[in-house]
Symmetry: C2
Subunit: 683 residues, 2 copies
């Protein structure tokens, strides 16, 4: 009697069907003039070339790890199978999202020629394809593997293999894409805007296509992979903690087996309800013709709010139908509300409508140094609300449903991912549409519309980043708890008075720091090569500045691709190897401490980097509205420095930390059977 699971498989299939409907909708839209088509196809080619080369590299990595997993004593072929499937699903979700994003950009530019609402609709639906695909593929994979493997002795480890596969692809996608996008952005800005004095998205700039490609491979594919991983991780972690739910009496069903089954089903069923809620939410996103930020933001927010309300309603019905305890509803609501408020807190600290970012703008008056200090301090300060919200969510959900509650709060937070990820993925599409409109010299009223859509995308990107960090934190925590349970660490052993746990924590806090250092330097190195190339083209290709000759866009894309892929290897491989090394050398207790340290410090660093970066960006934009001397003033020059510093922080290092903490936690969970009963070489 697996009826609920079969229903979930059906819902996932419906989701994929709905995504296909959206694809048909977007593909049916007008592609615009030949100029627009040409630019768009250049972006498409570049993005595809990057993804192809990235996936080829990843295929080698995935093949090697699959083989290793199959032969590790204590794991076996089942884990290898789920790992491989997770990797393929994650890669697929990224590929679909990106493919549609690069097809939606030109259509958005063309639709904006009709009306603002048409432009919003195409770009949002282009983004929604990825949102709905991510959740549908995620739930489908988990449900199928649940049906296949639920009778095995260590389902946590086997299902976790699916998360491990997804995460492995995600970290390379996020890091590689993040390096690409920011290096291209920095390179294009530095040579184009600063040295040659030509505007952003100017076709004379050789790196301009690379910059637009970067939005797709970094912000679309990378973000999709990140949240796919959170989504799957939260569901798996909750299932892994089902025994705790039964012991704590969270589930009211009669008999232990029945109770455990219900505890297993709950996260899947809530996720299924979330998919339906998200699909409904997508239809609530529409707007009039007013170019007002408030109205546009309200339109997008409406989709998420409707979906959130529906999820709470669905959960109530599910709890009642499955006979689970009402504590589950409270935990899910706590997660959902915390996720929403973390997003709002991010908005407060990064939007120039509020004090914090205004103060960063003001500090630019005194120079780049004070701008940097003020923005960095703002980023550090912005950790307060997210931390307090996560702590409240933990305390509430633990009070109502023990450890299981913490994990299912994560499921609640991610239940509306279908629509909230649509909102995130919308941003790069609108950004690309703006770039295309600029490059193809559309009339200024159309530019005003695409600009409005673009600047809305910047706001939702900040909110989305905050949400992604919150989701990653709670998912990683839930995975860590599952690891402790799976490896058989008792509460008494997992003590802060144990020297191995203490050592693990200290080593753990170090990981996000090194990871940030590596990724920030990677952006610097890649940007360096791009800058050299753009300078060379300006010098060597005669007639670029007069528009008589076209720069070699493809070469810049190629250089970015090669360098980004090379630079992603060390941070990615380090993340995979570190938890295994700690487990073998210092033992499973130290590994548990290591995870906690990495999660706690990673959370702080990720929020700081995302919000410092966001506020530097918007502080610059605020000055560009005419404040403190406006564009070209000394304050503006100072703010540009801040923006350059913030770029790799907010779009490469910060978001990659999300994946890093989840990946290390899920690896620990997968390897738990190997570490059971060991004490490490020197532990």
């Amino acid at each position: 009697m697996e009826i609920p699971v079969w229903i979930m498989i059906a819902i996932s299939a419906c989701g994929i069907g709905f995504a296909y409907y959206l694809v048909r909708y977007v593909m049916g839209c007008d592609q615009g003039s030949d100029v627009i088509r040409n630019i768009s196809s250049a972006i498409k080619e570049g993005a595809n070339a990057f993804l192809k080369r990235q996936y080829m590299l990843l295929a080698i990595f995935v093949a090697v790890v699959t083989l290793i997993l199959a032969f590790v004593p204590g794991l076996g072929w089942q884990v290898a199978v789920t790992f491989l499937s997770g990797a393929i699903c994650s890669g697929l979700a990224g590929f679909i999202g990106m493919s549609m994003a690069v097809r939606s950009n030109s259509r958005t530019a063309a639709a904006a020629q009709k009306s603002l609402n048409d432009g919003l609709k195409v770009s949002f639906r282009g983004g929604a394809i990825m949102g709905i695909c991510v959740v549908s593929i995620g739930l489908l994979g988990v449900s199928i593997f649940y049906l296949i493997f639920k009778d095995y002795t260590s389902p946590a480890s086997i299902l976790a293999g699916f998360g491990f596969g997804a995460s492995s692809v995600a970290i390379f996608a996020r890091v590689g894409g993040g390096i690409f996008t920011k290096a291209a952005d920095t390179g294009a800005d530095l040579v184009g805007k600063v040295e040659q004095g030509i505007p952003e998205d100017d076709p004379r700039n050789a790196a301009v296509i690379a910059d637009l490609v970067g939005d797709n491979v970094g912000d679309v594919a990378g973000m999709g992979a990140d949240l796919f991983e959170s989504y799957v991780g939260a569901i798996i972690a909750t299932m892994a903690l089902s025994a705790i739910a039964v012991n704590a009496g969270v589930v009211d069903a009669i008999g232990t087996t029945a109770a455990q089954t219900v505890a297993w089903w709950l996260p899947m069923v809530i996720a299924g309800g979330g998919i339906i809620a998200s699909i409904i939410g997508v239809f609530f996103v529409k707007v009039g013709e007013k170019l007002e930020m408030e109205a546009l933001l309200g339109a997008l927010r409406r989709g998420t709010l409707v979906a959130s309300g529906l999820v709470i309603g669905f959960t109530a019905i599910i709890v009642w139908a499955l006979g689970a305890g009402w504590g589950v509803l409270a935990a899910v609501s706590a997660g959902l509300i915390a996720g929403f408020l973390i997003g709002e807190s991010t908005n407060y600290f990064t939007s120039y409508s509020f004090g914090p970012t205004k103060r960063v703008s003001e500090a630019s008056k005194m120079g780049a140094g004070t701008n940097i200090i003020s923005g960095f301090a703002n980023g550090l300060m912005s950790t307060v609300l997210p931390i307090i919200l996560v702590v409240i969510a933990i305390l509430v959900s633990h009070y109502v449903a023990d450890m299981y509650g913490i994990a299912i709060a994560g499921v609640g937070m991610l239940a509306t991912l279908g629509v909230s990820l649509a909102t995130d993925a919308y941003g790069p599409v609108a950004d690309n549409a703006g770039g295309i409109a600029e490059m193809s010299e559309l009339p200024s009223e159309i530019r005003d519309r695409t600009d409005a859509l673009d600047s809305l995308g910047n706001t939702t990107a900040a909110t989305g980043k905050g949400f992604a960090i919150g989701a990653a934190g709670i998912t990683a925590l839930a995975l860590m708890l599952s690891y402790a349970d799976a490896v058989g660490i008792t509460a008494a052993q997992f003590s802060l008075l144990d020297h191995r746990v203490l050592s693990g924590i200290l080593l753990g806090v170090m990981m996000p720091a090194i990871f940030c250092a590596l990724t920030m330097n990677a952006v610097g190195k890649t940007a360096f090569t791009i800058i050299g190339e753009v300078r060379r083209q300006f010098k060597e290709i005669v007639g670029i500045m007069t528009g008589e000759a076209k720069p070699d866009y493809a070469r810049c894309v190629d250089i970015c691709t090669t360098s980004a892929l090379k630079q992603m290897i060390i941070p990615g491989v380090m993340t995979v190897i570190a938890p295994i090394l700690v487990g073998f050398i210092l033992g499973p207790l130290a590994l548990g401490g290591f995870l906690i340290g990495a999660i706690a410090c990673g959370f702080i660093l990720a929020v700081t980097m995302a919000n410092a970066g966001g506020s530097w960006d918007n502080a610059k934009k605020y000055i560009e509205t005419g404040q403190y001397g406006g564009k070209g003033s000394d304050a503006h020059k100072a703010a540009v420095v801040g923006d350059t510093v913030g770029d790799p922080m907010k779009d490469t290092s910060g978001p990659s930390i999300n994946i890093m903490i989840k990946l290390m936690s899920v690896i620990a969970l997968v390897f738990a059977p190997v570490f059971v009963g060991t004490t490490g070489w020197i532990g």
Copy 2:
């Protein structure tokens, strides 16, 4: 039979006597010309004015806390007495150190006219006065209170009151002094060097005296208070863990009472041996006439290395004489070696003789943005070695002597503090001497000597900062362990699977982040007021630029003082209140997690800020040697931005974190009797 303790009191008295001998030596040196005297007395006046106003504010704070402590149920008058004494001793150590530093600066400038060795001797001995005073006063206080209170039921809490008092003064001294020094520095540089194009330490700059005052109130008094607290904290924490030492069989003495007594004595006696070793070490610091960095650095390092060797020898004798286990010797050595290597790691990451800082210089070629990214990444990367060294020290010392071993490793690390603090305090004296030589227009060969001494001071400052962070981390950890013991948390309760512990950790990691944000902004605000004032004076006082009129130095000092003292209140008070709030609201388990979170994240942030700041500073200096276009080039301008950003990080926020993590831990230890058996309002 308290013979060892009486011997320690005698050694402390000898230490104070030796400090008096050094005072006589320094005071007997030539004060130089009238010009030198005038400048020096302006610095002295400013520093005294700051300290007087700061101590008056602190007196109110200390009085209030003393009264509160006396009436808190479960603590009582004993804690109030030790708290008050700790506060007075810490204030005294800071006062003596600073008074002698402001008297040594002019004498160093004068002595440099004779020879390099004379200059080094005066400045080093000026710094050594504080070094020896800090350790002697610290050991004296602990020994006396041991004799008075050792029979009370909760000596941990009572002795910890002494540490609490010391820490409370230290945090305000460090934060207030840190804000003062960096605001004055930034203000002087921005208006003087950048806007008016006059050199550093130019007498026409109204903020130049404030800048020199800052070196004394921030780097001397602040650093002294920081390490006084580490020193006392490490000894107290070790004594508090003596019961653990007995249970673990660390001490071989016959009978439990005798064993516990030996475990109590050990940290005091090792510290006493350290004082003698430090005094001997001071005499080993001398140099020839070659202006070579290597030779100068070797001279200073010789003092610390000799003292370290002696401490290991002393400890061996003490272990044998008191009949303790040889594990103690291993733990002390582990701490000592880790402390030394952390200093060396700092040197590697911040000196421009090595790759990391050279790369920051190179990144400056591409602008301020890349300089900032590169330096920040370098700071993050530099956390690796300190963390690994601390972890190794923990594992080794725990292996040989359980939790007690971790604490006594901290005592070992700090045993040579007398001479290593002398090396730190030497820096600001040499810096001041350089400024005085510049302002009084001494001949260039004398300037070369004071410059060499100054640049040596910059190197030792970086090493000293690394050491201070390492010492703070291990001391805070030991205090946290003592807290857990004192509040009666069993290993089994203190579990990472407890939701309160988890919540505590998350709240804890947030604290250093907020603290940094507050202190960085405080420097910004204060610098802002100073910049306004210096600009005003240049505009309104006719004849400043031609040297016909003198700027109003005192007004700048006064503005810095007022603003710094105002800005230090919130971060300081927050640090005192936060652990008490967490303890009352979430209970003692959450408070334990809170401490671990704050220590781990604080350690990472402190190392990152100190080393990023150090490498920005030296990257700028490297360019000034003629690299990448040298002074005035675009690369240099970019590097100046990095230096401005690094200043508050490395001299205000970073070092203050050291005190913050120890202060919160010692407060938890003091309030342990209040929290015993409670669970918090919502825990």
